[in-house]
C-alpha cells in the first residue's frame, strides 16, 4: 500500500497562538520573528499531535465537497468506526447517489455503487451470499426517503442484518438544492421557493421514526454532526449499530443530520446553526430503538424492540 500520509500541517494561521500577537508593532526581539511557520516538520509552539488528521481507511484527503458540508465529517466517523471495530477487511458498502458518492473512490473498503435508492436491496443480496461480511449502505435523504423508501422499509422489516447510514440534510444537494421528502416545513429550496408549505408540498417523512416501530429492527438512532458533542455521540451510534450487526441483531439504521449550507442558501459558517435549529428541531436526536444500557435517551428492547415516542 502506498497511501499518502498527509503532512503534519500546523494549525491554520488564524489559530496560531503567536499570529495575532506578532504584529509589526510588537516589541522587537533578538530572534527573527516567524509570522507563519510553514515547515511541516516543526509543530507550532504549544501544538500537540493527538491523532492522525486522516482516517486510516481514507486513501486521499482530496475531495470536491462544498465548504461547510457535513458529509465528510459523517463519512469520517463511519470509516473510523469500521477501522476501530477491526472489520475493514470484511466490510462491503453499498453507496447510493448523492454528493457522498464522491467518496467511493477514496474509501479503502469494497464498494458497490448501486442504482439510486436501491442500496438496501443490493445489500440484502450481498448479505445473503456473504454471511461473514459486515454490510452497510450510505444513502442520502433523497436516495433513501424519496427514491428508495420502499427498499429501506422492506429491508428493515425483513430484519436483514445490515446497517444503513442515512446522511440527511433535507435537500437534494447534488442537484443544487431541491426539495426532498425530508425537507422540513418552511425550508426554502429551488423547488419550494417560498419555503416548504404543507398545504402545497405536504409534510416531511421521519424515516428513522417509522423504521424504529418495525419488528425486525436491531438498532435505530439519529445523530448530527453540527457540534463537537454531536459528532462524538454520532460516532457512538455508528459503533453501536455495527456492534448490533456483528451480534446478528437485525437491521440497523443511523440517521445523521449533515450540514448543506450550499443547498440551504446560507453562508458556510451558518450551516451548523441552521442544522441545529431547523433540522434537529424537526428531527429530534437520540436512540430510537435498540439502545443499550449506555444509550443516551432511550432503552429499546433490542432486536424488534419498540420505543415509546414519549420516551424520547
Amino acid at each position: 500500500m502506498t497511501r499518502t500520509e498527509p503532512p503534519a500541517t500546523p494549525a491554520s494561521p488564524s489559530t496560531l497562538p503567536s499570529a495575532s500577537a506578532s504584529t509589526p508593532t510588537s516589541t522587537p526581539t533578538s530572534t527573527p520573528l516567524v509570522l507563519l511557520d510553514t515547515d511541516p516538520s516543526r509543530p507550532p509552539a504549544g501544538a500537540q499531535k493527538v491523532a492522525s488528521a486522516s482516517p486510516r481507511l481514507l486513501q486521499s484527503t482530496e475531495h470536491h465537497f462544498c465548504s461547510g458540508c457535513g458529509e465528510p465529517v459523517a463519512l469520517r466517523l463511519l470509516l473510523e468506526v469500521l477501522d476501530e471495530l477491526g472489520v475493514a477487511d470484511r466490510a462491503i458498502g453499498v453507496v447510493g447517489h448523492g454528493c457522498y458518492g464522491g467518496f467511493v473512490t477514496t474509501m479503502d473498503v469494497d464498494i458497490l455503487q448501486c442504482l439510486h435508492g436501491r442500496a438496501p436491496s443490493c445489500a440484502t443480496g450481498i448479505r445473503r451470499m456473504r454471511p461473514e461480511a459486515v454490510v452497510f449502505t450510505i444513502q442520502g435523504d433523497g436516495d433513501m426517503i424519496n427514491e428508495g423508501l420502499q427498499e429501506v422499509l422492506h429491508t428493515a422489516a425483513r430484519g436483514e442484518n445490515v446497517t444503513c447510514v442515512l446522511l440527511n440534510n433535507g435537500v437534494f444537494g447534488d442537484t443544487g438544492g431541491h426539495m426532498t421528502a425530508a425537507t422540513v416545513v418552511g425550508q426554502r429550496t429551488k423547488t419550494s421557493l417560498e419555503g416548504r408549505d404543507p398545504a402545497i408540498h405536504g409534510y416531511p417523512i421521519a424515516v428513522a421514526d417509522m423504521i424504529a416501530g418495525l419488528s425486525g429492527v436491531g438498532y435505530v438512532a439519529r445523530g448530527a454532526v453540527h457540534s463537537g458533542p454531536g459528532i462524538t455521540t454520532t460516532k457512538r451510534m455508528l459503533r453501536r449499530a455495527f456492534e448490533r450487526q456483528l451480534a446478528g441483531a437485525g437491521f440497523s439504521l443511523v440517521e445523521i443530520l449533515t450540514m448543506c449550507p450550499t443547498g440551504w442558501f446560507v453562508p458556510a459558517a451558518q450551516g451548523g446553526t441552521y442544522s441545529e435549529q431547523q433540522l434537529a428541531g424537526a428531527y429530534p436526536l437520540g436512540e430510537l430503538a435498540g439502545g443499550g444500557p449506555a444509550g443516551q435517551a432511550t432503552a429499546g428492547g433490542g432486536a424488534g424492540g419498540r420505543v415509546d415516542a414519549a420516551a424520547r
Binding site: R90, A91, I92, M107, C114, C122, P131, Q150
Partner: protein, 439 residues
C-alpha cells in the same frame, strides 16, 4: 382409443402436444401420461372450453427421485444424472439453475412466471442457496445484482410486465458488468422488443435465448449462466406459459460448456484497508490509488464487448433452407410452425423454417443465406410485428417479407389466444403465399 375430457384449465397444456408429441400431464399428482393420436380438431367456438380428444392413456413414468422428495438445501448436483424425471418446465428450469450453480434467486409473483418463483422457493431454502420473495420486481432485481456482485451465480425474473420494471437493473448490470440471468416467462411474444432492445439507459445489449420447448429450456438455462459469466453480462431467457407449465419427462444433465475467467472482480471485502479494495460501478472509476478507465473508456469497452458477442454468439436452427417459402418464427411458436411446415412439405409444398435461437444477437447473415433463393419470407410471431424488423434488417430483398403473425391473447390476457394453433398457422401460411385458393 379412449377419449379424455379436456378441461379448460388444462387445454393450453394440450395444444402443444400435436406439435411436440411429448408425453404430458393434465393435472399434477394423479396424472396420466397422454399421447395424442391426431392433431386436435379445431375448436368450434374459437374459444375451446373443452372437447373430447382421442388419446392413448398410460400411467406416468416412474419418478424415483421426485422433486418434492429432494427439495431443500441438500440437492446434490448431478444426483439425477441420467434419471428421467417428470417435471414442469418451471421445475426443470429451477433445477437446471441449481445444477448450474445458481445460489441466489429473487422474484415477485406474476403469472406465468409464478411457477418458476415457486420452484426456486421450494428448491432453494438453505443457507447455501437462497430464494427471496422480493417485495417488488425492482427490489428483486437489485438484490440479485448485490448477490452477483459478490461473485455468486444469481438470477431473477418475471413476465414481460415485471421485466419492464427491471429494465434499469438490466442496464445497470450490463454497464457495471455483473453476470446475471433474467428469466422472462412471458404471457405472449409481445416482449420481443423489450428482450432485444431493452429500455434501460446506455449502450448495452442483452443476450436473449428463446427455447422452443422444455428440453431446450434446460440447455438454455445452463448456457445463460455460462455466457453471463463468460462475458460479465446480463442474459435473458425468453419463455412463456407453455415452457413454464408444460410437464414433460426430462433427463437432467450438466453440460460441459468450457472454462470461465476467474471472478477476481467480485466483492468480498477482504482487501479493505490494504489499499487494494474494489469499486464496482457503471462508471468504472476504480480507486484513487488504482484508477479505473472512467466512464468514457469503460463504456467504449463495454460496447466493443457487445460487438464481440454479436460476432460470436449467434445461434439459429434452419430446416430446408432456400425453399420457395421460408417461415421465420421463435420460441414456442416455432414448434407450431415447424409442425405445419412438415405437414405442407408432405403435401408437396417447398417450405422451410428458420428459427433464431438467440433473439439477440440476431442471426442476420444466416437468415440472409437461408432465404437467398426463396420467393416468400414469412414471419410468424404472436405480436403485432416485432421480430419482422430484424428480418427486414437481415434479408436483402425486403419485398419478399410478409408478417403473418398477430396479436392473439385468450380471454384472461395471460396466455396465447387462438392464433397459436396448427390450423391457424397453416391458414396464415397458405394465405400469404397465395396458395390457399389452389388447394
Amino acid at each position: 382409443m379412449p377419449a379424455v375430457l379436456i378441461e379448460s384449465s388444462d387445454l393450453f397444456r394440450c395444444r402443444i402436444e400435436p406439435v411436440a408429441r411429448h408425453s404430458f400431464i393434465l393435472s399434477k399428482g394423479s396424472a396420466y401420461a397422454l399421447q395424442c393420436e391426431a392433431p386436435f380438431p379445431p375448436r368450434p367456438d374459437g374459444r375451446g372450453i373443452h372437447g373430447e380428444i382421442p388419446m392413448t392413456v398410460t400411467q406416468p413414468p416412474p419418478t424415483p427421485d421426485a422433486p418434492s422428495a429432494s427439495a431443500g438445501a441438500g440437492i446434490s448436483v448431478g444426483s439425477d444424472q441420467g434419471t428421467s424425471l417428470l417435471l414442469s418446465g418451471s421445475e426443470a428450469v429451477a433445477r437446471a439453475s441449481i445444477d448450474a450453480g445458481c445460489r441466489f434467486f429473487a422474484g415477485y409473483p406474476m403469472s406465468p412466471f409464478t411457477n418458476l418463483l415457486e420452484s426456486f422457493s421450494k428448491l432453494m431454502r438453505g443457507p447455501e442457496r437462497v430464494c427471496v420473495a422480493a417485495e417488488s420486481e425492482i427490489e428483486g432485481a437489485n438484490m440479485a445484482i448485490g448477490a452477483a456482485a459478490t461473485g455468486a451465480r444469481a438470477a431473477t425474473g418475471s413476465c414481460g410486465q415485471g421485466l419492464a420494471l427491471m429494465q434499469e437493473a438490466i442496464a445497470e448490470s450490463a454497464l457495471n458488468e455483473t453476470p446475471l440471468v433474467f428469466f422472462n416467462m412471458a404471457r405472449s411474444q409481445q416482449d420481443y422488443f423489450q428482450a432485444t432492445r431493452g429500455g434501460g439507459w446506455g449502450d448495452y445489449r442483452t443476450i436473449a435465448l428463446a427455447p422452443k420447448d422444455v428440453h431446450e429450456a434446460i440447455e438454455h438455462t445452463h448456457l445463460l449462466f455460462h455466457l453471463a459469466d463468460l462475458y460479465r453480462v446480463p442474459t435473458l431467457f425468453y419463455g412463456d406459459h407453455f415452457i413454464a407449465h408444460t410437464e414433460v419427462g426430462v433427463t437432467p444433465h450438466v453440460p460441459d460448456l468450457g472454462p470461465l475467467p476467474p471472478k477476481d472482480w467480485a466483492l468480498d471485502g477482504r482487501a479493505g484497508g490494504s489499499g487494494r479494495s474494489k469499486l464496482h460501478w457503471t462508471w468504472n472509476m476504480g480507486k484513487v490509488l488504482d484508477p479505473g478507465p472512467g466512464p468514457d473508456a469503460h463504456w467504449r469497452a463495454v460496447a466493443a464487448k457487445f460487438d464481440e458477442i454479436r460476432r460470436l454468439e449467434r445461434r439459429w436452427e434452419v430446416d430446408h433452407p432456400n425453399a420457395d417459402v421460408m417461415v421465420v418464427s421463435f420460441g414456442t411458436a416455432a414448434g407450431f410452425v415447424e409442425h405445419v411446415a412438415r405437414e405442407l412439405r408432405a403435401e408437396g409444398l417447398s417450405i422451410g423454417t428458420f428459427r433464431p435461437i438467440t433473439l439477440w444477437p440476431f442471426p442476420e447473415e444466416a437468415l440472409a443465406e437461408a432465404t437467398e433463393d426463396s420467393r416468400h419470407v414469412l414471419v410468424f410471431e404472436v405480436n403485432a410485428g416485432q421480430m419482422v424488423d430484424d428480418v427486414r434488417l437481415s434479408v436483402g430483398d425486403r419485398s419478399k417479407i410478409r408478417s403473418i403473425g398477430g396479436i392473439s391473447a385468450d380471454e384472461s390476457g395471460l396466455r396465447y389466444g387462438a392464433l397459436l394453433d396448427v390450423p391457424a398457422v397453416r391458414a396464415r401460411i397458405l394465405a400469404a403465399t397465395g396458395l390457399e385458393a389452389a388447394r
